[in-house]
Structure formats: structure tokens, C-alpha cells
Symmetry: D3
Subunit: 246 residues, 6 copies
């Protein structure tokens, strides 16, 4: 089984972190292939960044389809392009917010999200609603640490403090990490927070692995069927689906 | 006051229809400028198409900001890129689904949406939820007419039949047209359907005009503040916001 | 186009404030006619007051129908008698809470309401729910200033403080003013609050103007059809609809 | 204990039906006093009728307070003026829709409402939402029998048919009768429908009786405190609360 | 009329408290029979305790059916086994959380629950949702007093403090007592809290009495029909329903 | 890793079916141990059966804790005793309805449940709500096949017909099988239904496996902490937790 984990920003260092976390949980026999988007923003911290990360993500899905990937993880907590990716892929596609929230819902009455910039909180709320996880999502807490500064060792303590404060404020049973770039902090934060801490990269990798094991993929018709053939023009002409594609 | 109406697909003929409907309702003194996206799909009929229409839309918003537009209409019923556009624009941005649903909610207990392909129904449901209009949205009905065939005179009757059937099935007080390409059918369908029929292009033009008249625009901080400066690479490098932009 | 703005309390001084705000935003060619209710309470600060303001409001709607009004604004934040007024009027009727909340929803993720007495907060919650605006209404904050003291210059600062406190507490993107009597404070409060401030009188005037421009009015059958002819007796006999009326 | 049952329309014949049903269930020692509104519509079949039935209802509450009533039933399925009445009364006030829906929720997973005119269905939906009973209200079915024709023996079979059809369509566990004028049909319809049938007049009488027995009444401050003293003018001047009242 | 009030824990002292409260409100002619469960936990303070209190409760329902009880109160705030009891009983079965929450909803905009251990708060939330009372339930506050220590006179003041704090924090119109063991504190707490305080035991006794008076019981088919005959084995063999039972 | 799959009814033949499905998806290195409850009903088809299946389930959890199980599957679609089991177990516990619904939510916009008796539909609705899956659960369809007749080859076609009818009626993207006893029909039904079909036993086995791999278990304090020590009496005295336990 081959699972492609796509980092939809263009920062390869973050892909390395993601890759390690995904490989760390995959079953024997599951091949994890982590890739970095070839176009768009260096990090995703606004609706604008997210919208413009999607073409690069979709290009990686298209490449994965050609190369035979069995399933995909979208390794950014905004789950950018999830629905479009599901149209394009034959196998399952899971976002890390989706997987982390679902996973956390099995552990108790509710979770807190600890994330990066305050301006991304609204997007996390929207995702909780989309996935039916609103009733479990007891609070979303921003640290105002930019995504690309997460690897700075000095911020670890700030995030740990935010986790503890979130548990105290929300009475939550678990913490969901609100950025793929926090994936390697999961063990440290579990020790600090006193409640389970969930890294969406690991959670999504196992969700995709489970779906592939179960032989489950979209039905092939309806909303998530392959996009209709269509002419594309301008800068994005290569994304056109009107003849050669699929 | 200058309102820019953006057709986020690349089909200029549809922009002409849209332009006429927008101009038809604007107040004296309001200048309507309709533009066609310069890149992406010829029509938007999937999540994939929608995602890839957004960069072209955002390019038009950026151009409008340089050229001094006071507000924007996104003239596609999926309201693609609405949140990203709000970050980029200083003035108000309204989607046609947003405007049409809000407008319909003033006319009675609920409305039916009559739209194009069945695979777009889920997206309309998502928008109704996002805008708080779920309680007014009594049904979404697909005609399975592709967007680019809407101008064919033969389909008018099919759409009128769908409107009548929707009113009967849902007990609705109004019809919301689920595609910018139906804008010029509004008068015909009103006569046929026996209930008010709402074209989102006209509704959104007046919503933007009202917001500009009221002097209302986003607060300038928080979720919808201008995107943070950021390096973009690859095919989308020109969308980078790290120095020259804004 | 003639829009009738009805102050459903009997205080003519408040009507003057309302009139100025409505006229200030109407398009050239739109005639604003503001009227004061001829019966009922001097201000509306309880469910009791609101219920007993409705007959006077409906009398004004009936008069407007005879005199050819094209649409109506109900200029009290409780939107008293909205549904009954919609039955009676041929053209659109919009309440100022309705218009303000809808308008605010276009500006960001959510708004705070700043209002008069604490005992009216529940009514504002009910309206937010009725209009589908609950998800945007992040808080309702009472100043405990009686309606008829709003014109006292000393209270301006109290309201400005409440606006700032509401934005801080709710993380809101806009303020909705919770009383028609605050309409003339909108500009002052915008400067003080640091976020957009919305006066429902102005917003509703433009909403009605837009609906009339779009040619949209209720369908004429169903829940909001004209009331059935009926015998009325006692003090309210003149409201009877059984022969002469309509 | 004295319970006042108020028929908010002006049709005394309907009060007689209501009175019999209320007396039939009251405990020994509970005095039921049924009264007919002295002003307003002969029956309530629109938002307009309902709004204009409220002053008469409130006049009866005010009279009851003077005469020492311990609690009140509002005997019209729209529960007109419920919140205003709660402000005015010291003891409990219950509407028949409120009581019937709550009572039905104890009997199974959900109920159907069988009511009079189709144009009143929306109001019943609003009430189900207000009382938290939406999840139990599986359907609202109109018979299109006018309120004042309910006593015609020929309509009994039509209502029975509607009850059976509602149970079949909704899979409901009980029927809630949607009009005070149906109160005396409860026994007949129970036999016909095959599921419990709930008359709100009887249910509300017992709800009020229970609240009085429990010594429960509003707290005396906040939203439902007595209306503030206020000057009233015009036709409704007598409703003024500024000095003599309370 | 004979109402059986079942204490589903095995502590007879608590049954005595419950019995007194139930008898104190029953109408003349209503016989209250309070019983203590014969098996299971001494108090119910976890999901585990609750699950294991249900067999004892159901044994009492089965005995009540043989002995001719007309209806039942489940006198534990978790309403354990309510749905199973409804299947087994011919007459109405009401839980004290159910009755207390419904009753409180008639008194204003919302109530606070004051309860025992913090770990039971989630269960109270679930019940509020199940009964449609979420919109009225403004807060659930734990005192962390164990159930079996409620009779200690020293805890009365702690509970009174919690009631006052709850009203201040939630702006609630009433207090719902979150444990049958608090039933005898209702009068004291009403004086202390300044708002109505509701004891579910009394409220449920009157709810059952009302349902029996109204002649209302489940329909006899569907979800709450008598359990199907079935073989039971092991420790619980006596609960088998396959021949002798019913 | 050792996963215990508990059949909470007493029918060993069904445990054999369940065991085969669970083993069929477990990763190399995961040991699946399927057990049959030692007490209670032969099948679970009512709230009564479900309530009385819980003690046997909890006894198996307690035994698993002694024997070192790493996680548990509750293999009945009502997910009986899930919360109590979570208190008792140190590792994760997942119900098959929970797992199946979550899994289905990753495949499209919504799923239909196809189940056994109509009287169990309400319970499935409750679970969909509890897990946040209501928005994905588009319909629940009963076949009225008793649980213990599912192994009869003649019913396969009936279930296939129900799956096809559910997809047509609901427009669903997947089928969730509403009984552990249908687990071995999953492959057959996938071929027949034309959409993915999800067996909760397999889905839950992988969910537990994923949680154990991720090192995720409850936090150890709060709602799902181990039950407090407590005296139990009567038939269930052995479930007491007051000294030896844990």
C-alpha cells in the first residue's frame, strides 16, 4: 500500500517533519511517500494563502494518480482542496484536521485545538462544523506563532503553556494540534499537557491506511466523481481536464 | 461608486449576460464594471473547477484594488474564493449565492434553489449553512443542464418546469437561481413560476452598492485582514505578497 | 419609489432621528416618508410594550397601502409585527434588526449587538435565530440606558465603551446597534469602536430600496397572503378585515 | 387554586368547548375560570389576527391579576402574547401549543401536529423551535378547515383522516391537536388515530396546576419582570403602565 | 391513581427523602409508592454506576406492572433506563431530569443545573439535548459533593453558594437541582437563590399524575412497544421475556 | 497489540461471524480476541435488551483489563455501554456504529444506514447525533429482519434490495450496515449496492488499532476516569468497585 502525504506549502523542511511522523505510525507494508507542493505559498496562514496552495496540491494528487498512489493525506490543518482532491483521486483522501478531530472524538467528551495565528481560528471552526465535530470542539486557541517559526526550540514552551491553558479553560479531554508543523512536538506536549495530544499527520496516515485496508473508496458517481472534461486557459491551462486527463 | 462584477470562469459570453443584469439594477451614479477571469476553467461545475477558478478571481480582485474599485461581486453561484477575496479587497465583496439567499429570506418562510448539475447541490447546501440560510433553504433542485448550455433557448422551458416543481415540492415562497448564467431568465421565470425569482447577480450588485453607500467595509484586523507578506513560488509566484503587493 | 419608515413607538423626536438616517442613505429618486405610530407606548422596552406597539404599526402599514407606499421599514430593533405587516403590505417590509444583522454578516465572521436594557437581550437572541443570524451573533450587550435617554449627550461615551468592550469580549468584526434611537450615533461610534458599526435604520432603508428595485415582493399566496376577511370587535373593531379593508 | 383559561378570540361558543375540556381534567380544589377576549378577531388564522388578539388577551391577564388568578392558560395554538403575558402575571402562564408539545414529548420519539389552515403551519414550526420541541415535531399537517367550522360534525371525519395520514407519513407516536377548537374531539380522535391524541387545553390546564402546586413562578427580575411604567397613548391608552397599574 | 417512584440506587435513606417530596405535591386521590432498587450501586456517580443501576430499576418496573402501578418516576437525575422502562411499562414513565428541565423551561429564558460531582456534567448535557432542553440549559455547575453526603447539614450552604453563583454566571431564571438527594433542600435553596428552584422528584410526580389524568400512554407499537420475547442467560436469566413475562 | 472484540449478546454463532471480519482487516502483529457475553439477551432488539446486555459487556471489559487487552470493540450497532466501558478500560473502546459512521463520513456527503427491525431506528438516530454524524446520516432504513435470522441465506437479497432503495431515496454515497450480524455480507452487498458498504466490525477494529498505534487513551481524570469505589448489592454485587477492583 502506497500512501502519499502532501505538504501543500512549498517548505521542504516542514515536509521532512511531516514525513517522519507519518512513517512513525504506518503499518509494516505501508509505504509513505511525502511530497512538497511545487507552487504557491511558503506557509499557509490566510484564506488567500490557502486558496493559492490548492493548485499545487491538486498537481500532486494528479501526479499521484499517474504514479499509482493508493490514498492521500493533505498535511495542512486547513485541509485545503479536500473536496477537489476527492474528485481527482480514485482512492481515499483525508485532511489532517479531519483525521485529528475524528480521532479526538473517540477519547472523551471534547477536545481543544491549539493552533498558530489567531486569524486561522475561523477556518478551524468551519472545519469542525463541516466534519460534524463542532460538538466535540470545545475551544480553538491561537498561540500567534507563525508556521515557519514552529521549529524554533524556544516556542515549544509557549505551545505547552497554551495546551495547559486550553485544557483548563475548556475542560477538554484531549488536545488537537492545529498545524502540521507541530507534528514532531506531539510526544513532548503529551507529557506537558496531561491529556492526550493528537497530531493530525499521524492520525490521517492511519485513517487512509484503514480506508485502503477496508477497500473503501468513493462510489464513482455523484458529487465526488471525476471532474467533467473542461477547457482551461491562461496560467492554469495545464490543469485542463478536457482530453488527455484520466 | 465603482462596482466590479467578476465572472470567475473564462467565458466572455457569460460575462455579457451578467453585465447586463448588474447594470439593470444599479442606481444612477453607480458604475458597473464586469470582467472575465483570465485563467482557469471555461465553466465551474465541480469542486476541482471551483478551486482552480479562484486564482483568476483573486487576480481580478488585485487588479481592481489597483484600479480603485469600491466593491466586488463574485458572479458564480459557488461564491468561489469569497473569503480570500475579502482579505485582499479593502471594500466589500459579495457572492451571488450569498446575496440571493439573503434576499430571498426577506420574502417569506423559505426558498428553493434551481440549479444546473446535480453534482453541485452539495456545494449549495454548504453555502446555505455558511450564510445561516439553511432554515430558509427548503430544497435544491438540479436540472442537469450544463452551465454553457444555459443560453440555448430550448432549456428555458426545462428550467421553468423545475421552478414550478420546486415550489410544489417545497412549499417555497421564492426561487433562487443557482447559476450566474441564468441571470437573464429571471423575468421569464418569474412569470412562469408564480413566485418571486431571484437572480443573484442583480441581488449582489445591490448588496455591494448598499454596503458602499453605508460606508461599511471590513475592520482591517483579524481573520479578514490583508494576507501576510509571503513568498510564493512556481507557477503562482506572481501571487506572492511579500513586498510589492498592496 | 416611496419607502415608508415607521417608528412603532409614539415618540416623534425619535422619528426625527430615524428620518434623518434613512434619508441620508436613500438613492436619488427614492422618497423616504417617516411616520410615528399613533397609539401605544412611548418607547418599547418589554414584550408587553412590543405587543401593544403592533396595532399602531399595522395601522400605519394599512395607511401606507392606501397611500401607495412601495415598501416599509419597521424602525424598532425588536422588529415588532413584522410577519403581520408582511401579510398586510403588498411590497416588502424589513425590520431594522433583520437588516442590520444581515448586513453585518457580510463583513466578517460575526458581530456584537450593543443595546439598551438587559431585559431586551432575549428578544434580540430570538431575532438572530429567526433570521438565521445566530452563527454570526457573537454577543448581545446591554448598556441599561433607557430608550428615551439615548439622546442625552452624556450616554454617548457609555455606549462607545460598551462597543469597545463587546469587540474585545466577542472578537467580533462589527457592531450592530440595538435600538433605532442610536441611529445618529453610528458615525461617532464607528470612530470609537475601531470596527464597522451598523445602524439598522439605514441598512433597512437600503434593503427595502433594493427589494423594490429588484421588483421582489411576496408571492401573494400562502403564509404571508393578505389576512382572511374577519370580523373584529371591541376596541380594535376598526382593524377588522371583513369587507372594506384592503 | 384558581386557573384562568383565556380564549383570545372573541367567539364565546369556542370558550364553552375550551371550558369543558379544562374542567374535565382539573384536580378537586382547582377552580377553572374560562373567559372570552373582549376585543379583536372572531378567530385567529393569520399573523395579523394573532397580533391583534394580543391586546384583548393582555386585558384579561390584567383583570385576572386584579381578581386574584393563580395562573393562566392561553387557549389558542399560536400561544399569542405568551411572553408579554408572563411579564404581566405574577403566576405561571402556559400556552396550549407549549403544553401539548411538551406533553407529547414524554410519549415517544415524536409527534405530528394536525391543524386548521395551511397558512398557520409556519407559526407552529416557530413555536416548536421556541420550546425546544423541534426534534419531537415530526410533521405539521393542515386540514384547511377554518377555525369556526370545527364544530360542524361533518369535519370530524376529515380530521380523523388527517390524523391517520400524519401517523403514517411521519411514523409519529402521538398527535397534537393544532387548535383549541378541536379540544372536544380528543376522545373521538384517539379512538380513530390509534395513537395518543393530545388536546393542549387539557394539557395546559394541568401544567399550570402543577406549577402552582410546586409554588413555581417567575423570579421577578430580568426579562420577564413586570413591564416598566410607561405612557401609552391613542386607542391603547388604557394599557398604559405608568402609574395605577400593578 | 397509583404512582410508583423508583429510587434506582440501593440507599433506602435517600428513598425516604424522595418519598416525602413526591407525597408533598401529589393531588388528593393520588397514591405515591416509593421503592428502593434491590440490586446495584449505593449511589450513581458514573456511567458505570448508571448502567448497572438499570437492571434493578427494570425489575421494579416489572414488579409495578404486576402490582398495577399507573405510572412511574425514575428518581435519579441521570434518568437511567428511561427508554427501556417505557418499553416495559404500560403507563407513563418520567425521569426527574426530564421533568425538572421541562418545568423550568416554562419559567423564563433558561435555567442552570446545580449538581453533585463534576464527572456527571456530561450526562446532564446529554439529557438536555435528548429532551430538546439545550436551548434553556444555560449552565451545569458541579459542587463536587458526593451523592451520599448530601444529607450532611454542612453542605447546604455550599449548594446555596453554587446556586447563587450559577444564577450570576448564567443569567438564568431558575435553578434545576441535579440530584434526587437534593429534593428536600428545595425550599431552603429557593429562599437562598432568589430564583425559583426546581426539584425533579416533585416535578416528575406531577408530570406522571398529569399524564395519567389525561389518559395518555404510549401507543403500543413501534420503538416503545413491549420488548420482543427473548431468551436471557447467565446472571440475568430472570430478565428473560420469552414466555412467562408480560 | 491485543484487541478484544466483544459480542454483547450471548449468541456464539454471531461472535464467529464477527471474529472473522475483525481478523480479516487487522494488521500483522495485531491479535484479535473475540468473546461472547456470558449473560443477558440472545440478541439485542430493544432498549430493554440493550440495557440488559450492558452488564455482560462490562464483565468482559473487566476481564480484558485483567488479561491485558490493549483496546476493545463493542460489536453491536447500538454501541451498548460505550461510556461505561470507557470508564472501565485503560485503552480505547470503540462501538461499531461509531466507527462505521465516522468511516463513512470520509467517503462523500452522506451515508444511509440499513438495519434490522424498525424499532431500532430511533437508537441509530440517537447515535448519529451523539457522534456528530447527523449531517452525514441521510436515512436509516429497516428491513424488519430479526437479528438471529440474518444468517439465513434467503435474506441476503432483501438486504441488497434495501441498500439499493436507500441509495436511491437518500442520494447517499455509502451504506452503513446496521448490525454486527451483517458483517459477512459486506462484500456481497458492495457488489449489489453500487456504492461502498461499511461493516462496523471491521471499521472499529481498525479504529482501535489506530488509536493504540498512536498511543492514544483517555486522560485518566474527569468524566471517563475509572468509576469511583462503591458498594454494590444484590444480584449485581460482583460488579462492586469498592475495594478489590482495579
Amino acid at each position: 500500500m502506497r500512501i502519499r502525504v502532501i505538504n501543500p506549502n512549498t517548505t521542504a523542511a516542514m515536509t521532512a517533519v511531516i514525513d517522519q511522523c507519518a512513517r512513525g505510525v504506518a503499518a509494516p507494508g505501508t509505504v509513505v511517500e511525502s511530497v512538497t507542493s511545487g507552487m504557491g505559498p511558503a506557509s499557509i496562514e490566510s484564506h488567500y494563502d490557502e486558496a493559492l496552495a490548492v493548485p499545487g496540491l491538486l498537481a500532486e494528487i494528479a501526479r499521484g494518480e499517474v504514479e499509482g498512489a493508493d490514498g492521500y493525506v493533505i498535511a495542512c490543518f486547513g485541509d485545503p482542496g479536500l473536496y477537489a482532491a476527492r474528485e481527482l483521486a480514485r482512492g481515499p483522501v483525508i485532511g489532517i484536521a479531519e483525521a485529528a478531530m475524528h480521532t479526538a472524538s473517540h477519547l472523551g467528551r471534547g477536545f481543544s485545538v491549539v493552533t498558530t495565528l489567531a486569524r486561522t481560528v475561523g477556518q478551524a471552526e468551519d472545519l469542525a462544523e463541516r466534519y460534524g465535530m463542532q460538538r466535540f470542539c470545545l475551544g480553538i486557541h491561537a498561540t500567534d506563532i507563525p508556521v515557519l517559526e514552529l521549529e524554533d526550540p524556544k516556542v515549544r514552551g509557549v505551545i505547552a503553556d497554551a495546551c495547559r491553558a486550553a485544557v483548563a479553560a475548556d475542560g477538554s479531554d484531549a488536545i488537537v494540534l492545529g498545524c502540521a508543523g507541530m507534528a514532531d512536538l506531539c510526544e513532548y506536549l503529551t507529557a506537558e499537557a496531561g491529556v492526550p495530544v493528537i497530531d493530525g499527520v499521524a492520525a490521517a496516515t492511519l485513517s487512509v491506511q484503514s480506508l485502503v485496508t477496508l477497500g473503501l473508496r468513493k462510489s464513482g458517481y455523484g458529487e465526488f466523481a471525476a471532474p467533467l472534461p473542461k477547457q482551461y486557459t491562461g496560467l492554469l491551462a495545464e490543469f485542463g481536464t478536457d482530453e488527455a486527463s484520466r
